[in-house]
Each structure stands twice: as C-alpha cells, then as structure tokens.
Symmetry: C3
Subunit: 215 residues, 3 copies
C-alpha cells in the first residue's frame, strides 16, 4: 500500500497504482478465505477482507502521523478490498480451485510489496531507520494479525513460520541500502526480492524460527 | 457520539447533547451487563462500559484525523460511560428486571444515532462518502467489537444477526440523501429510521446474513 | 514512559531518561516471559516485548494527539524493549532464577512510573484531569492488555487483582495534588508511592476487587 505516496512525482503513474491495488486485492482474497473457514457471514467476510488488506497500512499511517490514513483518504483501496471479499463470496467454488502454490506466491509478492512500501513511507515521514523497518513489517503483517485477533486466534506471526521475519529482512536490506546511498529503486527492488525469496524458500523447506522451551 | 460536533451552530443545544449522552449511557449499560456475564471485576466492568460506549467513536476520530477524539476531549462522555457501568454494578438486581425488548429497542435507537452521527462527522472532515458510510458503521459497532475482542469472543457482528448491516444501510441512505441535496436533518432522520426499523424487524424475524459453506 | 517529555527543561537529564528506559526494559522482560510461556517463537517474543513495554504509551500518545508517539519518534525506547526481549531469549535459564518477589517489585515500580508519566503527559497536552487519570492507567496497563489480547487471553486487569486500580489511585492522587497547586515533583512522588504501595500490599494480602455475581 501507499507505493504511490512514496513516489510523489509518479503520483499519476497507473502502473504503480495498479501494483498497489493488486496487492490489496490479493490480501483481501486471503482475508475472505480465512473468514469463510471461520464461518463468518457476508458482512463479517467483508470486514476481515478490509482489515486484512488495509489494517497494517492504516495502523502504520496512524503511528507515523500520516492522518487520515491512506485507506481512509483514497476510496480506491477500500473499494478494492471490498471487491476482493465480494469476489470470494460470489465465486467461492472457483477460488477453491486456485492452486495453493499460486496463493502462496502471490501472498509472498504482496508481503514484499507492502513491507517495502511501508518502510519507505515511514522514512519519508522522517521516522528513524530502525523504526522504519518495523513499520515495514507492520504494513506487511499487521492486517493479518488484526484479522486473527478479531477471529480470536493467536496470530500466526507470533508462533509459526518465517513470514514477518522475511518482511523484516527485506525491509532492513532496503533501509540499509538507502543509508549507503544506493538509488531508491534499486534498494527497494533488492529488498523486495530478498523478502520474496526468503519467504518462498522458508515455505518450501518448512523453516521455522527458534523457540525457547519453557518448563 | 459527536452529534454536537456535527451541528456546530447548535453546539450549546442541550437537547442534542442529552440525546448523545443518553446513547452513550445505553451502550455503557450493555457493555457492563456483558462484563458481568463475563465475570469481570468492578474495574473490568468500568473498562468494558467505557470501551463499548466510546470505542467506536474514538477509533473513527483517530482515523478521520479528529484528534484528540471526542471521548478524550470532552470529559462528559467518559463520565457518562463510567456512570452507566457504575449504575449496573450498584443496581444489578434492578437492571436484570429491565425487559429484554426494551434493551433491544434502546440499543437499536443508539445504533441508529451513532451510525448517523459517525457518518456525518466523517463527511464534515472531508472523507469520501463511501468511506464515510463505513465510518458510520464503525461508530455504531466498533465499541462492542473491541469489547468482544477484549473478552476473547468472536465479535457478534462478524457472524450473527443483522446489526452492522442495519447501520450500513442507514448510513448509506443518509449519505446518498445528502449527495442528492436532501436537507441534512431530513437525510439524517430518514437514515436513522431505516437503521432502527431494519434492526427491529431483523430481531423480530430472526434474520441473518448469508454465509458461504466451506467444505 | 515519556518522563522526559514531561520535564522539557530536563530534556537532557540522563537520570530521567535512564529511569524511563529501565522501566521499559522491565516491562519488556515481563512481556518476553509471558511470550515464552505462550510458546511464541523468537519473533513473536520480540513482538510481545515491544508491545508490553511500549503499547500503553503508544495508544495514549495517539489519543492525546502526541503524534508520532514517543515509541516511534525516539528509537531508544524500541531498542530497549527489543533488548529486553532478546535478553530473555538468550538467557532464559538465568531469568528463571530471578526471584518472583523481585519481578513483582520491579513491575510495581514500573507501573507507578508509567502511570505518573502518562497522566502527566496527558495534562501537558491539555487533557481534562479526569481523562488524564485514565490516560495514566492506560500507560501503565495498556501494553500488557494488548499483549494478552494478541495471545487470546482475557486481559488480567479485567478480572483479577489490584493492578490497574493501583495505577488509577496513584494517578488520581497526583492529578488532585496538582490541582491543589502542590509542586509537580512532590505530587508525582506521592502519587507514585501510593500506586507502588497499594500494588505491593494488594499482592501480599491477595486483595481483589469486588465482582457482581450473575445468575
């Protein structure tokens, strides 16, 4: 989200907006699928679609002082999220036949996109680089976390998988690159690719983070 | 909440303030009753009263950039919410004898009031009409949702009943009316009545929203 | 948190900053210990450390309009919180041998500190005294509450113990003192001591708040 904010001179750039909205749509679809598994009704499904797609960026915007948040200021994000939820509601049979692997790949791409855009926007607002990295992670995983909390599940990022960690690594790469004066587009691309590849490899190899065993 | 903000010229209008505070009190009482069923202690009960009555409007204000939110800026809202919770704590026996039908009716009226005031305030702050409708819904149902999350229950609006949908329909009617240049008072009244009637009929007829069955 | 914001003229005062950061560290350690009991992985543990230590002050700052919140603006708070979580991850065996009584005492001191600083900052931002007291409580207990919600537990403050109530009493004493023109340092010290003593006595005597029994 908010890629467009990050490139003010490209504000009208249809390509960037389209990428941003496709990411939003993908996250909304995932939210809606989780909603159906949780036996939510139509409205609940639209709520979790909206929250999954736009929750992370909204909280980030509140925290960095970009008020009203992008999701509130620009109706196209909300409309895209609701369209994603509505599409799943209407065509659930078809969505069930989408290969799991495709969903995971699209999700990893969305995560990379959101994390880079989120960290970049935080830097634009003068936030310290370390915190900007955390804002990138928040943008990528915040929506899914709020959705899990709404559905009274322990958010997956807290105890399973390499997911938020991939966003963290990618955002850190990008922010470090920018600190070393690497051009913005390159830093962002490299960071995004790091995030995407790390996520995909982690899924393929069933990587998990270490835990402390309490006794 | 915040009816008064919506009518700056009537800022001193005691009637509007009273209506607003009565709605706050009703929602606080409902929150406290839920708190007692959840075996909360006195302080927990006051917390959920406050959150149920003022949480939705507070999040709306943060999102539309009305900072500090009304509930923080004007102590009378907080005091009313705490009074509602305290009244339930002190006179629980009496509140148990309030007929269920009366509670449902007052709640539906409060929902209509909060949804209209919330959508109206969002419009005043220059928010896009589609998002303003969502802000109306958030104002009406956000407090109860946060309360449910605090008590680790799946919020009712996600999977049961016509409740948020009634707020959505009413707020949409109002916003469309305003777009068609219907006078403010009329648009608001018609929208509020739509919300109220839809909610009451839905309760009487046990209407629910459709769900997708996952298998 | 944000003791330093409250004493602008002492902004560089290393002692106050150190006290603030020690409080943050203590809360982060407690968050991490809760995370390990909840079987979170390394990242989840860092998340709950950050949230426990800084969540209350962050929400307070959003509500009173101090944006970006202290935790986002000043990287030292975030770094301290992550250090607390990381220390528990690396040296969990040692932390297990910390006497329970010491943890409770440090926590009570942190609670007193956060509650006073939170109420004081709210007053500085022109918030009404009654609401400022609530902001003090929020600063003291908000982080632990968000952590409990993330881990899908009913927050302890809602149904057990004298904890938030101690923060409430201490913050009220301080705010009343300031209203009576008691010098700031004295009002804050007396309020903090009230909070600390009340908490410690409540733990020792197993005090609880009353509940209404529903049937």
């Amino acid at each position: 989200m908010a890629l467009r904010d990050w490139f003010p001179k490209y504000r009208q750039d249809v390509v960037l907006l389209a990428v941003d909205l496709v990411g939003t749509f993908v996250f909304a679809v995932e939210g809606a699928l989780a909603g159906i598994r949780g036996e939510l009704d139509l409205l609940g499904l639209l709520v979790v679609s909206f929250v999954t797609a736009l929750g992370g960026g909204t909280v980030r915007d509140l925290l960095i002082g970009a008020v009203p948040p992008n999701s509130i200021r620009d109706w196209r994000y909300g409309a895209t999220a609701l369209a994603g939820g509505g599409a799943v509601f209407c065509f659930y049979q078809s969505f069930q036949h989408v290969p799991q692997q495709l969903l995971i790949t699209l999700d990893a791409a969305g995560l990379a996109l959101f994390a880079m855009a989120g960290a970049g926007k935080a830097l634009e607002f003068g936030i310290n680089p370390m915190i900007a990295v955390l804002m990138g992670v928040l943008t990528g995983v915040g929506g899914g976390t709020i959705r899990d909390v709404l559905m009274t599940r322990v958010p997956g990022i807290l105890n399973t998988d390499i997911y938020a960690s991939a966003a963290l690594a990618g955002a850190a790469v990008m922010v470090i690159g920018l600190a070393l004066k690497v051009p913005r587009t390159i830093a962002m691309t490299v960071g995004g690719v790091c995030c995407f590849v790390l996520r995909m490899v982690a899924v393929a190899r069933h990587w998990n983070l270490p835990k402390v065993i309490s006794h």
